[in-house]
Protein backbone atom coordinates (compact mmCIF):
# COMPACT_ATOMS: atom_id res chain seq x y z
CA UNK A 1 0.00 0.00 0.00
CA UNK A 2 2.83 2.41 0.88
CA UNK A 3 4.46 1.70 -2.49
CA UNK A 4 1.17 2.37 -4.26
CA UNK A 5 0.97 5.77 -2.53
CA UNK A 6 4.48 6.53 -3.83
CA UNK A 7 3.66 5.28 -7.32
CA UNK A 8 0.52 7.43 -7.50
CA UNK A 9 2.02 10.52 -5.86
CA UNK A 10 -0.77 10.27 -3.30
CA UNK A 11 0.52 12.91 -0.88
CA UNK A 12 2.02 16.37 -0.66
CA UNK A 13 3.38 17.23 2.82
CA UNK A 14 3.11 13.63 4.03
CA UNK A 15 1.75 14.50 7.48
CA UNK A 16 -1.43 12.42 7.11
CA UNK A 17 0.11 9.70 4.92
CA UNK A 18 0.86 7.05 7.61
CA UNK A 19 -2.75 7.26 8.78
CA UNK A 20 -4.06 7.15 5.23
CA UNK A 21 -2.03 4.01 4.51
CA UNK A 22 -3.14 2.30 7.74
CA UNK A 23 -6.76 3.24 7.10
CA UNK A 24 -6.60 1.96 3.54
CA UNK A 25 -5.25 -1.42 4.69
CA UNK A 26 -7.86 -1.67 7.46
CA UNK A 27 -10.66 -0.53 5.16
CA UNK A 28 -9.80 -3.14 2.54
CA UNK A 29 -9.81 -5.80 5.25
CA UNK A 30 -13.32 -4.75 6.33
CA UNK A 31 -14.43 -4.75 2.71
CA UNK A 32 -13.02 -8.27 2.21
CA UNK A 33 -15.16 -9.38 5.16
CA UNK A 34 -18.22 -7.95 3.38
CA UNK A 35 -18.90 -5.12 5.83
CA UNK A 36 -21.38 -2.63 4.36
CA UNK A 37 -20.97 1.16 4.26
CA UNK A 38 -23.31 4.15 4.07
CA UNK A 39 -22.70 4.35 0.31
CA UNK A 40 -24.62 1.25 -0.70
CA UNK A 41 -28.37 1.56 -1.18
CA UNK A 42 -28.86 -2.14 -0.36
CA UNK A 43 -27.08 -2.98 2.91
CA UNK A 44 -27.76 -6.69 2.42
CA UNK A 45 -25.77 -6.79 -0.84
CA UNK A 46 -22.04 -7.51 -0.88
CA UNK A 47 -20.20 -4.18 -1.25
CA UNK A 48 -18.13 -3.53 -4.38
CA UNK A 49 -15.02 -1.39 -4.27
CA UNK A 50 -15.28 1.83 -6.26
CA UNK A 51 -14.33 5.48 -5.78
CA UNK A 52 -17.45 6.27 -3.74
CA UNK A 53 -16.80 3.35 -1.37
CA UNK A 54 -13.16 4.39 -0.87
CA UNK A 55 -14.24 7.97 -0.17
CA UNK A 56 -16.79 6.88 2.43
CA UNK A 57 -14.61 4.27 4.12
CA UNK A 58 -11.58 6.60 4.31
CA UNK A 59 -13.67 9.58 5.39
CA UNK A 60 -12.23 9.72 8.92
CA UNK A 61 -8.82 10.70 7.52
CA UNK A 62 -8.48 14.33 6.50
CA UNK A 63 -5.75 15.58 4.16
CA UNK A 64 -5.20 19.33 4.49
CA UNK A 65 -3.20 19.31 1.25
CA UNK A 66 -6.20 17.87 -0.57
CA UNK A 67 -4.37 14.91 -2.09
CA UNK A 68 -7.56 12.87 -2.29
CA UNK A 69 -7.50 12.94 -6.09
CA UNK A 70 -4.43 10.70 -5.98
CA UNK A 71 -5.15 8.81 -2.75
CA UNK A 72 -8.22 7.14 -4.27
CA UNK A 73 -6.30 5.88 -7.35
CA UNK A 74 -3.49 4.70 -5.04
CA UNK A 75 -5.92 2.49 -3.11
CA UNK A 76 -7.56 1.24 -6.30
CA UNK A 77 -4.10 0.59 -7.76
CA UNK A 78 -3.08 -1.46 -4.74
CA UNK A 79 -6.22 -3.60 -5.08
CA UNK A 80 -5.55 -4.10 -8.79
CA UNK A 81 -1.91 -5.16 -8.14
CA UNK A 82 -3.10 -7.49 -5.38
CA UNK A 83 -5.50 -9.24 -7.77
CA UNK A 84 -2.94 -9.53 -10.60
CA UNK A 85 -0.31 -10.99 -8.29
CA UNK A 86 -2.61 -13.81 -7.18
CA UNK A 87 -3.35 -14.86 -3.62
CA UNK A 88 -0.04 -16.54 -2.72
CA UNK A 89 2.26 -13.85 -4.05
CA UNK A 90 -0.02 -11.08 -2.90
CA UNK A 91 0.05 -12.52 0.61
CA UNK A 92 3.86 -12.55 0.62
CA UNK A 93 4.00 -8.98 -0.69
CA UNK A 94 1.41 -7.92 1.86
CA UNK A 95 3.50 -9.33 4.69
CA UNK A 96 6.74 -7.75 3.54
CA UNK A 97 5.33 -4.39 2.54
CA UNK A 98 1.74 -3.71 3.64
Amino acid sequence: MAQSFVDHDAFQCGYCTPGQVCSAVGMLDELARGWPSAVGTDVAADPQLDEAEIGERMSGNLCRCGAYANIVPAVLGRVSTHRQAGPARAQATHGARP
Binding site: S23, M27, E30, R33, W35, P36, A38, D42, V43, S59
Partner: protein
Protein backbone atom coordinates in the same frame (compact mmCIF):
# COMPACT_ATOMS: atom_id res chain seq x y z
CA UNK B 1 -9.05 16.75 32.49
CA UNK B 2 -9.62 16.40 36.22
CA UNK B 3 -7.87 13.30 37.66
CA UNK B 4 -10.15 10.43 38.69
CA UNK B 5 -9.90 6.93 40.12
CA UNK B 6 -10.46 4.08 37.66
CA UNK B 7 -11.85 0.66 38.59
CA UNK B 8 -12.56 -2.51 36.60
CA UNK B 9 -14.97 -4.60 38.74
CA UNK B 10 -15.25 -8.37 38.34
CA UNK B 11 -19.04 -8.55 38.21
CA UNK B 12 -22.20 -6.44 38.05
CA UNK B 13 -22.80 -6.48 41.82
CA UNK B 14 -19.33 -5.11 42.52
CA UNK B 15 -19.78 -2.48 39.80
CA UNK B 16 -23.05 -1.20 41.29
CA UNK B 17 -21.56 -1.22 44.79
CA UNK B 18 -18.57 0.86 43.64
CA UNK B 19 -20.66 3.49 41.88
CA UNK B 20 -23.19 3.66 44.74
CA UNK B 21 -20.42 4.30 47.27
CA UNK B 22 -19.02 7.45 45.63
CA UNK B 23 -21.27 10.47 44.84
CA UNK B 24 -21.05 11.40 41.18
CA UNK B 25 -19.26 8.15 40.19
CA UNK B 26 -20.01 7.01 36.65
CA UNK B 27 -20.04 3.78 34.64
CA UNK B 28 -17.80 3.58 31.58
CA UNK B 29 -19.09 1.34 28.76
CA UNK B 30 -16.57 1.48 25.89
CA UNK B 31 -16.55 5.23 26.49
CA UNK B 32 -16.83 7.15 23.21
CA UNK B 33 -19.19 9.76 24.65
CA UNK B 34 -18.06 9.73 28.28
CA UNK B 35 -14.38 10.26 27.40
CA UNK B 36 -15.33 13.23 25.21
CA UNK B 37 -17.28 14.71 28.10
CA UNK B 38 -14.38 14.11 30.51
CA UNK B 39 -11.99 15.94 28.18
CA UNK B 40 -14.34 18.87 27.74
CA UNK B 41 -15.10 19.13 31.45
CA UNK B 42 -18.81 18.46 30.95
CA UNK B 43 -18.49 15.79 33.64
CA UNK B 44 -15.81 15.59 36.32
CA UNK B 45 -16.36 12.42 38.38
CA UNK B 46 -14.02 11.26 41.16
CA UNK B 47 -14.49 7.62 40.12
CA UNK B 48 -14.95 5.89 36.76
CA UNK B 49 -16.09 2.25 36.88
CA UNK B 50 -15.38 0.41 33.62
CA UNK B 51 -18.12 -2.15 32.89
CA UNK B 52 -17.17 -2.75 29.24
CA UNK B 53 -16.08 -6.33 29.89
CA UNK B 54 -19.21 -7.14 31.93
CA UNK B 55 -21.64 -6.55 29.08
CA UNK B 56 -22.50 -9.07 26.38
CA UNK B 57 -21.07 -8.48 22.93
CA UNK B 58 -23.29 -11.14 21.35
CA UNK B 59 -26.17 -10.83 18.90
CA UNK B 60 -28.62 -13.72 19.27
CA UNK B 61 -31.99 -14.69 17.79
CA UNK B 62 -34.72 -14.20 20.34
CA UNK B 63 -38.49 -14.82 19.93
CA UNK B 64 -38.60 -13.75 16.30
CA UNK B 65 -36.36 -10.74 16.92
CA UNK B 66 -32.78 -10.16 17.90
CA UNK B 67 -31.22 -9.67 21.31
CA UNK B 68 -28.32 -7.21 21.03
CA UNK B 69 -25.78 -7.15 23.86
CA UNK B 70 -24.99 -3.75 25.34
CA UNK B 71 -21.31 -4.09 24.35
CA UNK B 72 -21.93 -4.90 20.67
CA UNK B 73 -20.02 -2.42 18.53
CA UNK B 74 -21.96 -0.33 16.04
CA UNK B 75 -19.87 -1.51 13.08
CA UNK B 76 -20.32 -5.16 14.03
CA UNK B 77 -24.06 -4.72 14.43
CA UNK B 78 -24.35 -2.96 11.05
CA UNK B 79 -22.35 -5.79 9.44
CA UNK B 80 -24.43 -8.59 11.00
CA UNK B 81 -26.11 -10.52 8.20
CA UNK B 82 -29.43 -10.80 10.12
CA UNK B 83 -29.57 -7.04 10.73
CA UNK B 84 -28.73 -6.28 7.10
CA UNK B 85 -31.43 -8.57 5.76
CA UNK B 86 -34.20 -8.18 8.35
CA UNK B 87 -33.62 -4.67 9.74
CA UNK B 88 -31.92 -2.69 6.94
CA UNK B 89 -32.98 0.70 8.33
CA UNK B 90 -31.10 -0.09 11.55
CA UNK B 91 -27.98 -0.99 9.56
CA UNK B 92 -28.30 2.17 7.46
CA UNK B 93 -28.73 4.35 10.56
CA UNK B 94 -25.63 2.85 12.18
CA UNK B 95 -23.57 3.32 9.03
CA UNK B 96 -24.71 6.95 8.73
CA UNK B 97 -23.38 7.71 12.22
CA UNK B 98 -19.88 9.25 12.23
CA UNK B 99 -17.08 7.73 10.18
CA UNK B 100 -15.94 4.12 10.44
CA UNK B 101 -12.97 4.83 12.68
CA UNK B 102 -15.03 6.75 15.22
CA UNK B 103 -18.17 4.68 15.09
CA UNK B 104 -17.15 2.23 17.79
Amino acid sequence: MKPFAYQVPGDAVAAVRSVAAVPGAVFLGVGTNLVDHLKLGVVAPDLVVDVTALNSDEITDDSGGLRIGAAVRNSELAADRRVRERYPVLAQALLAGASGQLRG
